[in-house]
């Protein structure tokens, strides 16, 4: 080899980013190092989780015949709360609007939710901030949340409500209380919550006057007495131990149990809480249904499932696994206009982008939904946004009916686990349906 000939440069490997220390993780370490405080954001778990996309319907075949898609009836109505309440709630569709507070959302956004839900015959839900005229006035059926903070709680509003939802927890943060930072504690929000304006408000995580299922039974009795046993009483839990929580809620006298998986959104909480506490929606449903079945209460105490419901297929899958209805929050906000690409430049100015914006606690939402800023609020027309939500709810319902008819069901509640298969071992184990093409249900059957 001629030593005067320059050796070619040795091939170099590509820069390799760590899967463990990925770009987001590095950015969070830098953010934490710079600020000394945990990251707070809105929305639910964003990590990849086993979800409804990992399930498929089998549809009709030789042994099962379908219903005509445009001719044969497929019912979607659901009655909630007929166990004890004199006046159960009757919904035309099995999709409800989950609890979101006035304070976290603007008044016009709450009005839009009411308009949209009412147009298609379903209910909306208050949140950790009391009942506003915007939502009561525009919601034909309104569920009034009974939260640890009891902000704005009063017997007049409780009597105006169509149902009461005792909130034990929510999927984004089982074991955590509400949070609303100072930017959103406007004079009106502060007055409703009996708080000083502009403070960083952290709600209690436990109810002030009851602890555990035995107390809850007495609390529910009191709420029934105050409302003369008219209103259905829901108990909402974040998905953590859904089998036991559901059983205990039934024991405590609930008419309806709401189980909210970790994809369920929040207005504001620590990122570490959202991503690391609680279990996925898919993992919670069969456990809750099992508790109801063992108690002989399935379809007698209704089950509402929420957390990452996005379309009619998700609705159909949740119902097939045993839910009576679902609730949507994040999807409803998107239907109103949240994270719309038309505000892209403004999202970028906030250091985010359309589709990823989750700093709802800062009150600077370009879409005018998660804000108390009077100017930003004007960007949301509650009539137009309400119509968009109604459209979306209608599409979800039509999609669920489409699947139900394909499976030969004359009511969406007739969907059943037998109609489903899974694409992954994880989803099969959680949903307790076989992996597609096999009769293997991990954890239940021994064969592949």
């Amino acid at each position: 080899m001629n030593e005067h000939v320059k050796a070619p440069a040795a091939p170099r490997t590509l820069p390799r980013e760590s899967a463990t220390f990925d770009a987001y993780t590095l950015s969070e370490i830098r953010r934490a190092a710079a600020t000394g405080i945990y990251d707070i954001r809105g929305a639910g778990a964003k990590r990849k989780l086993p979800h409804f996309d990992d399930l498929l319907f089998l549809g009709a075949s030789m042994s099962r015949y379908p219903l005509e898609g445009y001719r044969e009836k497929c019912g979607t109505g659901v009655v909630l709360g007929d166990r004890f309440a004199k006046k159960p709630i009757e919904l035309k569709i099995p999709v409800t609007i989950a609890g979101m507070s006035f304070g976290s959302l603007s008044g016009p956004a709450k009005e839009a939710l009411g308009r949209g839900a009412s147009a298609v015959g379903t209910s909306t839900t208050t949140g950790d901030g009391g009942m506003t005229q915007e939502e009561r006035g525009h919601s034909n059926k309104l569920v009034y949340q009974y939260l640890p903070s009891r902000y704005g709680m009063n017997p007049d509003d409780i009597r105006k409500a169509d149902a009461i939802e005792v909130v034990v927890g929510q999927g984004a943060k089982p074991g955590g209380g509400g949070m609303l930072l100072g930017q959103k504690i406007s004079p009106r929000v502060a007055k409703m919550r009996t708080l000083p304006e502009g403070i960083d408000q952290r709600s209690a995580c436990r109810h002030p006057d009851w602890t555990g299922p035995d107390d809850l039974e007495i609390k529910i009795e009191e709420l029934r007495e105050i409302t003369d046993w008219e209103k259905p009483i829901y108990v909402k839990v974040g998905a953590a131990r859904p089998y036991y929580d559901t059983a205990l809620a039934v024991k405590a006298g609930a008419d309806v149990v709401v189980v909210d998986g970790m994809q369920g959104g929040t207005a504001a909480t620590q990122e570490v809480f959202i991503e690391h506490v609680g279990i996925p929606t898919l993992a919670a449903i069969r456990q809750a249904v099992k508790a109801l079945q063992e108690l002989g209460m399935h379809r007698k105490v209704q089950l509402i499932v929420s957390g990452g419901i996005r379309n009619g297929a998700d609705v159909a899958k949740a119902l097939a696994l045993g839910a009576d209805a679902v609730a949507i929050g994040t999807a409803a906000l998107v239907a109103l206009g949240d994270n719309d690409p038309k505000w892209e430049s403004e999202y970028e100015a906030l250091g985010s982008k359309a589709g990823a914006y989750d700093d709802w606690h800062e009150g600077r939402d370009p879409a005018g939904i998660t804000t108390q800023d009077p100017e930003l609020m004007k960007r949301l027309d509650p009539i137009i946004a309400g119509r968009r939500l109604a459209n979306f709810l209608s599409v979800m319902t039509l999609e669920a009916q489409t699947i139900a008819r394909a499976c030969g069901k004359s009511h969406v509640h007739n969907l059943e686990p037998e109609d489903l298969v899974a694409l992954t071992i994880e989803a099969a184990a959680m949903a307790q349906v076989p992996i597609a093409g096999t009769d293997w249900i991990p954890g239940l059957t021994g064969r592949f």
């Binding site: 600020t35 000394g36 405080i37 903070s149 009891r150 709680m153 009063n154 017997p155 409780i158 930072l181 100072g182 009996t194 708080l195 000083p196 403070i199 960083d200 209690a204 002030p208 006057d209 009851w210 107390d215 007495i218 609390k219 009795e221 009191e222 007495e225 105050i226 409302t227 003369d228 046993w229």
Partner: protein
């Protein structure tokens, strides 16, 4: 009671709490002359819960959880002890407990007056939102936790962690305080505060029995109203 007072007797050994509450809920504002005497309460729950009329209900014996819960307008007198959450979320009116009260007395209450002649257990006035509470004896630990508004006047002692994470409520304690909770501090007792204590004692029928000057005032240092990394140890 004036001469036109109509008195009703209700025996909870012969009828249910539901029957009693249904009858009381049927009362209209115009029935302000009514006096209801309830016997045999036997620690039953939710007695006289959800009232909304200027009626007086005298309960002859001990009550269970949530007596006079969410009360509006009514005067409810318990001639005995009261269980958890007496007068919880009261909006207005007056609730008197002649014996002791258990935990969470007047929890989250927005208005009205709760008088406990004996002592109150833990979490008295938790998350109170405007109610006035007067306790003749002592109060348990974690009382006035996250107390937002209103007054808590205690003639005896207070347990551990009084006023933890308190907002704008005013706490007046005549005896000792085992410890103060996060962000709760002793504050100067000025003449306006002595006048307020006197007013609350008077409304409870306890004026003249103790000297308002004997009370100390406690309230929020307001250091936790905003997140700050240097306060992390207090969160």
């Amino acid at each position: 009671m004036n001469a036109s007072t109509q008195s009703h007797s209700f025996d909870l050994a012969a009828a249910t709490v539901r029957d009693l509450n249904a009858a009381l809920h049927a009362l209209k504002d115009g029935s302000n002359a009514s006096l209801w005497r309830v016997s045999n309460p036997r620690g039953l729950h939710a007695i006289a819960a959800g009232l909304d009329a200027p009626v007086t209900v005298e309960i002859d014996g001990p009550v269970g959880y949530y007596c006079a819960g969410m009360n509006k307008q009514a005067t409810v007198i318990v001639r005995g002890n009261a269980g958890v959450g007496v007068a919880e979320n009261m909006m207005s009116g007056r609730v008197e407990v002649e014996g002791d009260a258990s935990q969470a007395a007047a929890a989250t209450a927005h208005g009205g007056l709760l008088v406990v002649r004996g002592s109150a257990g833990a979490r008295c006035g938790i998350s109170m939102k405007g109610v006035d509470i007067v306790v003749g004896g002592s109060i348990g630990h974690m009382s006035a936790f996250m107390a937002q508004a209103g007054t808590l006047t205690v003639l005896g002692d207070a347990g551990e962690a009084l006023g933890d994470s308190i907002y704008e409520a005013r706490l007046y304690v005549r005896g000792s305080v085992t410890s103060l909770g996060a962000d709760c501090v002793e504050k100067e007792m000025r003449d306006e505060h002595k006048a307020q204590v006197f007013e609350k004692l008077k409304s409870a029928g306890l004026d003249g029995q103790v000297d308002p000057s004997d009370f100390k005032r406690y309230g929020s240092a307001r250091t936790l109203y905003h997140f700050h990394v240097d306060n992390a140890s207090a969160y």
